[in-house]
Each structure stands twice: as C-alpha cells, then as structure tokens.
Amino acid sequence: MSIETAGYLVTGLGLYAALGLVVALIYMFGGAGRIDPAAKGKGMPLRARLLIMPGVIGLWPVMVAKLFTQKEPPVS
C-alpha cells in the first residue's frame, strides 16, 4: 500500500469516526429514546448513555437509518 493510499484510508476512518461522534451525541440527547421507549428519560441513565456512544460511532450509518425507519419498539 502506498503512503498516499494509506493517508486517504486513515483520513477516511477519521471522518467516519467524526460523523459517528455527531450521531452518538444525537443518540445521547434523545435519539435513543426515539427508537426505544425503554431508553427514554430516566429509563436510561447517563452512564448507560455514555456506554452506548462507542457503538453508535462504530455503526452510525445503521443507527441513522434506525432513527428514520424504526417504527415499532424493540422486543425487549
């Protein structure tokens, strides 16, 4: 792999993570409760919200899609 290609790859990963952080903040402040009623308000304390942030950063395209498409609450 050339240095130029590796540079693009690392920059791409950084951008992906930065966008993921934005989506994670949306989930932290209301997004989680929007797709899952059990996560609304006191149903999900701050420490639990912080714990799901890395996952949202890693899977943010899936979680953005869920914000708009998940109509039914999850099974549990």
């Binding site: 792999m1 059990a38 996560a39 999900m44 996952g55 890693g58 899977l59 999850p74 099974v75 549990s76």
Partner: protein
Amino acid sequence: MSHDYKAVQWTPFKKQFDRWMLAGIALYLISFVGVSAVMQPAGESFTPIQILIRAMGTLAFLLLTFILCIGPLARLTDRFKPFLYNRRHLGVATFLVALIHAGLVILWYHGFGDLNPLVSIFVSNPEYTSLNGFPFEVLGFVALIILFLMAATSHDFWNANLGPGLWKALHMGVYLAYGLLVAHVALGALQFEKDPLYVILLGTGAGTVCLLHITTAIGGVHKVNPASLNGWLKVADLSDMQDGRAKIIRPKQGEAIAVFRDGDKISAVSNVCRHQGGPLGEGKIVDGCITCPWHGFQYRMEDGCSPDPFTEKIATYATHIVHGIVYVDPAPNTPGTYQDPTVITHNNA
C-alpha cells in the same frame, strides 16, 4: 428486567467474577514482565515497553482463546457455565488489553518517525507476497476493529435495537477476529521470535479452539431426541427430573424445549430467552418463575409470560406423563398461551 437500561447489570457474583478476572490479568502481566526481565537472553536488551507490548499481546490472545473455548466447554461440563454467563465482561477486557497492546505498538514502533503513526502501520511492511515482510500489523488492526465493535455493542440496548439476528451475526465476527489474530502472530512475532514457547502457545491455543468446536458440533448432532410416542417426544424418566430444574429437548425442527419440574407439576416452554437468547433450560425456578441463567429474565411456567410489569412472552408446550415417563408435544403454542401443567399423581408416576 427490560423496562429500563442500567450501565451494568451487577450481581454479587458478577462483581466477584470481575475481581477474580482483574486479579488474574494483573498477576499474568506482573509475572510476564518479571520473568521476561530476569530471563532475557544475553546480548538482548528489551525495554520495559517492548516487554509490556508482548505481555499485552500474549494476554489478548490467551483471553480470546479462552473466550472461544467457554461455549464448547460449557456444553461438555457444568463447571464452565459461570464463565459462559459472564463472558461479556471477559470480552470487553480482551478488547481493552488488545487496545493497550496496539497503543504501545503505535507509540514505540511508529510514533517517532516523520509519518503519521497510523499511516505508518499500513506502509511499514509493504510486501504482501513475502512471509517475513507481510503487513501483519494490518491484520491486527482489522481484528482490533472487530473486537471494538463487539465490545461497543455488548450493552443490552444493542441486542434489543439491532435485533437478535443482526446482533448475533455481528458477534459471530469473533471467529474472523481470532483467525486474523492467529495470522497476525504467525506472520508477525513468529517470524523473528526464536523462543519456541510462542509457537507452542499459538499452536496449542488455535488447536484447542478448533478441536473443542468440532467435538461439540459432532456431539450436538446426537442430542436430537428421536424417541417419541404418537408424535410426543420423550423427555426423561420422572425420577430423573430434578425439582426446580429442566431437561432440554431438541426436536428435529423448531426451537429447543425446556421441560421444567416444580414440585408435583411439569411444564414446558421454549428454551430461548427473549432477552439475549439465553438457555432457559439451564436456569432454575426462582419464586415460582423460570429464571434465565444469563441475566435473570423470568417467565411463568404455565403461560410463558414475564410477571407484571414486564411483557416478554415465550412459547409453551403441552406435556404428559405415561408410566413415569415425561413426554412433550413438539408443536409450540403461541407465545404467552396458558397451558395446564401436568400434575404428578400416583396413577401416572
């Protein structure tokens, strides 16, 4: 149970388990660093950071190997079930150990040049056709990303919102991560390491994982219970049914069935917990409810419903007893359907 999310669902046992786990990790690291420093061959002078890199790397490999062995071992003996029910914390610990290993590697081997350290990982060994020049760092990097995704989605929120299918598929990535890790070690450290201990460690670890999975996969095929009476599957002799516990039956089609005895009553439900697919038949009756061994989700025996205010439902099955032998109808009722328990009497026992 499911009405709110906690950061960690602590139980006294989980706390004790984590204390033992952290003590074991600390003991391993201290021992490794101490022995490596004392036994260092003449003429070589590894720095403390280099020794710590190896300690973290070998520990991550051993932890992941152990995690992959827990499932098959728990099927072979009940002694490993406590590990099975608490392996989530082991997995997160493994990721953190691997992350420290990667961080130290980036700092020590890639952090002092002109290149961006992360770019350096991808270009320092560019020879894809050579064994000793293969970019093994890339393999480790991809394995670390997989471990990250698994650790980051280990909270209950993820299982509920990704859905059991997608969540399970994502977490099956552990096998890919392990394969990448084996290749990372074989094409990396083993290419210049003279000590045969590392070859033995890698071969024994990977071999044990493969052997245990093959053994239990073959054994699992024979667990299908073919004995039946007019379509009803034989469960066990009544005398073998322990009070408060279950026997698990695996029909040729459909989900496994957990047949419980609670005093003089026999009832059957799906063996699959609605929470994370835990094996209900390996749990026990607590306060009159079937209690999942993984996270304590509960269901009533007679209708498969979680007690109020919870709303989970699992399928129930009809049972009966003939001449002291318990049978179950493999056709499931709709989840939450009331099914009369079979009462043990002098006539049927």
